[in-house]
Symmetry: C2
Subunit: 184 residues, 2 copies
């Protein structure tokens, strides 16, 4: 079994078949974010009106499933590109966090997941994404260092890849770590 | 006064000082989309639960303002990157539509705005975008042809640019023009 860490890096050997547990047995990566990092509109468990995306390690990749709401459209019958960009974004950050955990020799769920934020986001809309079924979002790390990761993401509808994305994830800067309260 | 059409193109001369009307006197570009193209979650006037972004021609640029909701956060106190990507996306499409109208010799508001969809979206998060005030989104066309446009976009908070984006807008393919009903 291959690792999601596809770059040439010393940490590769840390993610072995022994260390990978199927998604049925591991928590969602976002559910391991610290409480003060769990308000994200895209994936935070504490954001009651957000998308609450959940991403799981699945073999050599990280996978999530998401069912867009009827109002998440660009034109009637097709999923809104801004939502698709959001899924690429949050899933990419979760993938970076999972890779960092595994590279550090920890299992997913051993402790809080590390905080990554998005430095850049690129999304190619290969074809329209039809509304009506669950989307599958898959990602793998292309490159990573201690500070950042480059993650490749796809979104598929009905088994066909409709979106390709790439995100650059960086460790959250201390300037974003304020304990400001938020009301929702 | 310069045009938002900054590329070398024959249509440049069509957007002259005489043809530009201040945003106070022109409708929002999205309000000129045909009814069957006005359900977008980001900017459709018929999407009651969407963001309903409104973009206006403003001199050589196209401008929009948007006040994120308290739940539109990445971490408490900062605006969610997926929302920022959505603003870049919809504002970029509106800018492409406005440029096409003006290049065709029509004034904004003379008729329905042309339908553009996103082929690709790139967003650089230069620094965290603080939640709490109205964001300003500005765009101009870098290149355009009859079929597509490349649009550069910025998002500013409190007068400081926090996001730079670029979108490739293409004329909506006929495959997305189905009259499928949608319930919201």
């Amino acid at each position: 079994m291959q690792s999601i860490l596809t770059g040439s890096q010393a940490e590769l050997s840390l993610w072995t078949e022994d260390s990978i547990v199927s998604k049925a047995h591991t928590p969602a990566i976002q559910d391991l974010y610290p409480d003060d990092f769990a308000h994200c509109f895209g994936c935070g468990r504490h954001n009651a009106v957000g998308h609450q995306l959940k991403s799981f390690v699945d073999g050599e990749e990280v996978v999530a499933h998401f069912l867009p709401a009827p109002h998440h459209i660009s034109v009637p019958g097709f999923v809104y590109g801004g939502l698709l960009a959001s899924l690429v974004d949050c899933h990419g950050m979760a993938t970076a966090a999972a890779a960092a955990e595994l590279a550090a020799g920890r299992q997913i769920g051993d402790g809080p997941a590390p905080r990554y934020v998005t430095a850049s986001l690129h999304v190619e809309y290969l074809k329209p994404t039809i509304l009506g079924g669950e989307l599958e979002i898959r990602a793998r790390v292309k490159e990573r260092s201690e500070r950042k990761a480059i993650v490749a993401v796809t979104v598929s509808a009905a088994g066909s890849v409709t979106v390709r994305g790439e995100v650059v994830a960086v460790r959250m800067p201390s300037s974003m770590g304020s304990p400001a309260a938020v009301s929702m």
